[in-house]
Symmetry: C2
Subunit: 202 residues, 2 copies
């Protein structure tokens, strides 16, 4: 299976970490694809009209996207499950993933606003709106239990990917000092082989 | 169950149409929530730190979001399934939903750029980038089979919600003339009771 990816993307990292945690790492061939909301990548767009990564290309030519769909598919391939098939735990984990994905979206929109958009078109209210979501979301996650053992769930992986992205692109954001539990979780999660193998600078 | 919603949101409409198609309409109490990427709604943010609709509040106080998670939950409550539990069809439908959701995201970002952002901060390249995704995505959907009978899937519902939102907010976009199959699908889908009951102006 070929995974269109990019080293900086937190959504792509979520897929790669999930694949490694499921023991499927050797089945993924990674292909770096340059993407931008203001540019086009015809090779990628042929498989995913949104022109976004991650996109998974199966051996039979089918393309799966986005990150949630790819992880749902990978999760069906092994006995180990990152999301239970049913029960209240399923929707709790999926909602936490949705929260983490929403924070990644907010962080990407903030990044586009401050680093991609020409500075004369920057709208401060928009940037602040996205950062408010991030702060409020992290405060919420600070109160939630996390796993760092062999039983990590998709929610743990997604939360780690948000925090890793903030460290990578928003190094001035001190998200740790008022959120000690999240900081402890991230410190421990960061030693996982799946995490080390998927570092943006790896 | 209480669904925080907004008449204009294509994501909220997806949830409402899905609930009606599943026969769960009478279990949903709709509560309109004003939201904006540059403003805050404390009542909603208490349940969803992203401050986004749709958000579903269960009787026991748990909150589920976003639209995909809510539909996944609703789909588990009845024998009728909008997404099969496994098999290739599952990931084909989920990928089409992801495409439709991506088009809704692009349309919302285009709408924010042209109607919410102060005009002096409008960046033409951004707006064009989002509209390109929409056109390319619709061209892709034009080639895909659709259902309009009792066997509609979540993909059909999501695609209808994109098209309905384009008609509602981008009335100048003539998406039909070069996409006759999509136009025929939408015309037929538009007569469904679930569609009529969830009209933005209903």
């Amino acid at each position: 299976m070929k995974l269109y990816t990019s080293a900086a993307s937190p959504f792509a990292r979520k897929v790669i970490v999930a694949a490694l945690e499921l023991g499927l790492g050797d089945q993924l061939v990674l292909e770096t694809a340059g993407v931008s909301p203001v540019g086009s990548n015809p090779a990628l767009a042929a498989h995913n009209p949104l022109g976004k990564i991650p996109t998974l290309l199966l051996e039979d030519g089918r393309a799966l996207f986005d990150s949630r769909v790819i992880v749902d598919f990978l999760d069906s391939l092994t006995a180990r499950r990152l999301v239970p098939a049913d029960g209240p735990e399923r929707w709790a984990i999926l909602t936490e993933q949705a929260l983490a994905d929403g924070l990644m979206d907010a962080a990407l929109l903030a990044r586009y606003e401050s680093a991609l958009r020409p500075p004369e078109f920057l709208w401060k209210d928009w940037l602040e709106g996205q950062m408010t979501k991030i702060h409020r979301g992290l405060d919420h996650l600070e109160t939630a239990p996390r796993n760092t053992g062999p039983d990590v769930t998709l929610a743990d992986i997604a939360v780690a990917c948000v925090l890793g992205y903030l460290d990578y692109r928003f190094a001035d954001e001190d998200w740790r000092s008022s959120r000690p539990r999240l900081a402890a979780f991230y410190a421990e999660f960061s030693s996982r082989p799946s995490w080390l193998a998927s570092r943006p600078d790896a």
